[in-house]
Symmetry: D2
Subunit: 341 residues, 4 copies
Amino acid sequence: MLIIMKLNSPRSEIEQVKEKITNLGYIPHEIPGEARMAIGITGNRGKIDPEIFLNMPGVLEAIPVTKPYKLANKDFKPGSTIVNVGSEQIGTKELTVIAGPCSVESRDQIVEIASSLKNMGIKFLRGGAYKPRTSPYAFQGLKEQALQYLKDAREATGIKIVTEVKDTETLPLVAECADILQVGARNMQNYSLLEAIGAQRKPVLLKRGLSATIEEWLMAAEYILNGGNNNVILCERGIRTFETATRNTLDLNAVPIVKKLSHLPIIVDPSHGIGLWEGVIPMSLAAIAAGADGVIVEVHQDPANALSDGYQSLKPSKMKILLERLQLLAPIMERTLNLNK
Amino acid sequence: MLIIMKLNSPRSEIEQVKEKITNLGYIPHEIPGEARMAIGITGNRGKIDPEIFLNMPGVLEAIPVTKPYKLANKDFKPGSTIVNVGSEQIGTKELTVIAGPCSVESRDQIVEIASSLKNMGIKFLRGGAYKPRTSPYAFQGLKEQALQYLKDAREATGIKIVTEVKDTETLPLVAECADILQVGARNMQNYSLLEAIGAQRKPVLLKRGLSATIEEWLMAAEYILNGGNNNVILCERGIRTFETATRNTLDLNAVPIVKKLSHLPIIVDPSHGIGLWEGVIPMSLAAIAAGADGVIVEVHQDPANALSDGYQSLKPSKMKILLERLQLLAPIMERTLNLNK
Amino acid sequence: MLIIMKLNSPRSEIEQVKEKITNLGYIPHEIPGEARMAIGITGNRGKIDPEIFLNMPGVLEAIPVTKPYKLANKDFKPGSTIVNVGSEQIGTKELTVIAGPCSVESRDQIVEIASSLKNMGIKFLRGGAYKPRTSPYAFQGLKEQALQYLKDAREATGIKIVTEVKDTETLPLVAECADILQVGARNMQNYSLLEAIGAQRKPVLLKRGLSATIEEWLMAAEYILNGGNNNVILCERGIRTFETATRNTLDLNAVPIVKKLSHLPIIVDPSHGIGLWEGVIPMSLAAIAAGADGVIVEVHQDPANALSDGYQSLKPSKMKILLERLQLLAPIMERTLNLNK
Amino acid sequence: MLIIMKLNSPRSEIEQVKEKITNLGYIPHEIPGEARMAIGITGNRGKIDPEIFLNMPGVLEAIPVTKPYKLANKDFKPGSTIVNVGSEQIGTKELTVIAGPCSVESRDQIVEIASSLKNMGIKFLRGGAYKPRTSPYAFQGLKEQALQYLKDAREATGIKIVTEVKDTETLPLVAECADILQVGARNMQNYSLLEAIGAQRKPVLLKRGLSATIEEWLMAAEYILNGGNNNVILCERGIRTFETATRNTLDLNAVPIVKKLSHLPIIVDPSHGIGLWEGVIPMSLAAIAAGADGVIVEVHQDPANALSDGYQSLKPSKMKILLERLQLLAPIMERTLNLNK
């Protein structure tokens, strides 16, 4: 249920509505608009009778929201969410480019690639410290040590850090290092983790699960938003289908659909989405042409010897070409890509 | 198996190789290149020993082709296939735009939309005369009458006709009308139809089956090519996945993958690929950004009253906006979009 | 819309209702029940007002049928359809077992396996004469010659013939040989073929398409029923999913769902459904335990040298074991399996 | 790599081989067989040279294991794993039946259904205390209170408790109550949770992920086995496909495939697998006929008013019918179902 207040309704009326909601056992969420206040209600199971609110002073409308997600719903917040990451913003006209290796492999590796990317004008470095792997025998990441190396890379270059958090135990440690926390596809429905992330304020890059519908993905975002953390960035990274020529099927349909349904920014991971480095440049361009707010791309100095995901990683020289193409594309999409370093 | 001849090998040596292939019970296919001739072998089951050819005069190499498709394989014909449709070409730098209604509904409807599209500079009209429908009770198209209306539309405007052929019985009739024959997704593995289409020379737009892998799709193309019809244009139109927010999942990964594996042109159908008109413009742009050679878009004067697919059809005014966006995008992709009318 | 007549309503009242339906431009279908007549209406798009019929003499009820299939709907014909194939019946308490090789490979091969199966008490032989194959270079079947061999096998043993029809051109030839026509998965939405099969009276085994929903499958059956051929047997043979350990994912859920939605018999093809011979016995038992009316199993004298599908074919000795297991299982399922030869 | 020792090789030789493995930086696992000892090696990335072991005293063979899972591999332990749960065993000839409601809703509800099930001879009660839900606004379970109610139900009836653990935080609490820990489909690749479960010794019911291949599922089991907890029971509960007539597609193919690849017991959840109560009895029978070691079935006193999953829950009276059918089926499958109470 969404309560729309009249133009310039005084604070006292807003507070009365919120009190009523609280008394009913639900949770009110203020959603300030340019001209008027709206109040979202969550915590209800089943329908709420709009009549309860309609004759309260200051109430214009009471709109039942039929989608199961509420806080993530465009109806709840008609504009677009902008996520602030220090001095940078995600979800504006400016395209976001996040780049870096799958895994942090050594201090030298990560500092070197960070400066190489920073020199191209890239503002966000990705790099995994804790790696969820299908096999217990595969490289699981350098863990705490990697977090230190990521900090070193930031200190050396000023680049911002995007790194995955894989459980609630290591969340404090990872959150202390990361500028943006990444939730991996396999954890998209790890609700305990989502709740813990919702309870803190670091921005989150929420990857879509391998077999998650768009609605389930928005419901996962809802868990974080419901905890009070509004800094959610969605990330389409490919879904699982019958096709075996590619690692996943990048679902770019999700970009216009998410833009229609939600106010949250959405970026695209073409590296996992196609799983072959030759496809990363075309699919990055396609993502932006579909309306995405940015891309996250795997880049490695020496893909042939990467500890993970080398076959889908670009060399820095190819990343440079991608940036040049994106700078040409941005104005066509009424976007900017500011690479002044 | 692919036999590569030496530079400037004389005709007599080429003929000797072809004769040898024929004597072995296989079929030779000449594949002329800029500098040298190649000869493809089909009709073999299992491997052929390369030694058989290696010491024949004029033979440089004998390359086993491991992919199950041969004539559709990029190794067979390293350049790109250009399909000639009268004065127009598909598969060059010039982007192809095909537009029109799902079904031909009346003479007036199709002539009107044809002139409207022609006035925008569009050179190909789509419109179904025979409609394969999930339900036997749904509108099945105006059939022969529709073919006449399509001819009328061509006569009135000069626009070229793309229309679906749904069985071998009506192939002669449809081929007599169409400039490009369309094979629908449900018929992609109708091998009798593919063989019949291979046996004639009209260009073909071969849609990908709902659950066809890229390899199976190229194998379907192989049936047509093997019949001697080289005028095959592939069309990605979305695959079936678990996602229900969209009619299909448009698999744009297929574009760079097809470009890597095959020499055939590929165009994209965003209307079926997403199944919602609001998504057609972004997904058309995404298709071209991914490297597609063109798009095929459903356009209807009055989508709300269309006999089929109205919810995924653009109005002519929206189609005009799409063209403007495509003209901006084309040069970024090193393409052209020539709309001089 | 389904019109239910009162108990023992006279022929004249039934004819009046049928005339009314015809005058409205729709098609009436008599559905005689044990106690009363029902009349199905097809040919309508959109809803029909029940009021039109309710005050006609003899009319008890007018039930809108919301499922898009009507003739295949259980509401249309509450009992179960029994398909007569000469002296045999499919869809009764007696389980149906169809067995034989993927392809007819030679006269000797098919006559030998037919007598071997007949000696076990099996009454239906499968064997492909026309083989739709993914590759144009793969074995396409012995075609007309194979039809003659199948007739020879029937003459020699009395076994009934189940063989695939792949296009309308060869339908008369195949129908002249077959006791049951098989429609393959790739042709499930070849509507021209379905219409041609609906226009004749040979029983049909309609395989489910690789990515067909149960509803689409029933709609395909509807095409045949709507032509006037009521002898439709459904065949679940596995659907396409992401799982690669098996050739297909045998969807046994389809058995109770089809039994709930439709009156048509359903049999299961475990050979294609799992694609590994070791899995054929357990999945055959599972199919019957789920409520299927029978199984169709690939059996070959020498699977290692079969021209197609050897890896999923049972040897005759294993088929015998399967029959023994099925005979034990049948009474548990309130079924019979009569193998007196 | 799997080292097979000679018949009756003395302990000293076994220890030498284990020491060698440890010195190479890998981990040895003793796998005692009836006649001889085998030693599995894990912890290696890439191949190990078999020569290293072949001329050590007592070594018969050194077999490279190519599957990515090792401890879960049938080659590692050729017999079948039997999981002991107090006085009960899972994975023997005796079928396992687990039944109960989706969620624990109250003390009365769970104690009542427990005695009802116990009276039928059922030995395992399922019931969710912590419920992972797609929506943050849905009923999340009674949590700690529910654990107490489950203990009460056990105390009152002697039935054993199967309940889901959803995160590492609550693992100690849940493990203190449960006789078998359940890992839900959405947590199948929550590696931190799998590791924590591997580090303790309570038996685990590991549900297959919605889009997990069989190989990925066995890799998830590998995480637990690698921690030293061998008490893993696999549970097929349906995968996500395009079919919408059922909640999931129950993949019974997985039963014979798992039996071929692994020594772990496998049981089937038909309630989630089809998602409609009418389908639960047929699919339970099908699961056992396919070779499963048991079933886990949702049963509720009053499905229409259940707080979750009512539409797929059996009433106790229907559960009784299922048990009667299973008792008839068991001997056909060379199984027993002992319901003496």
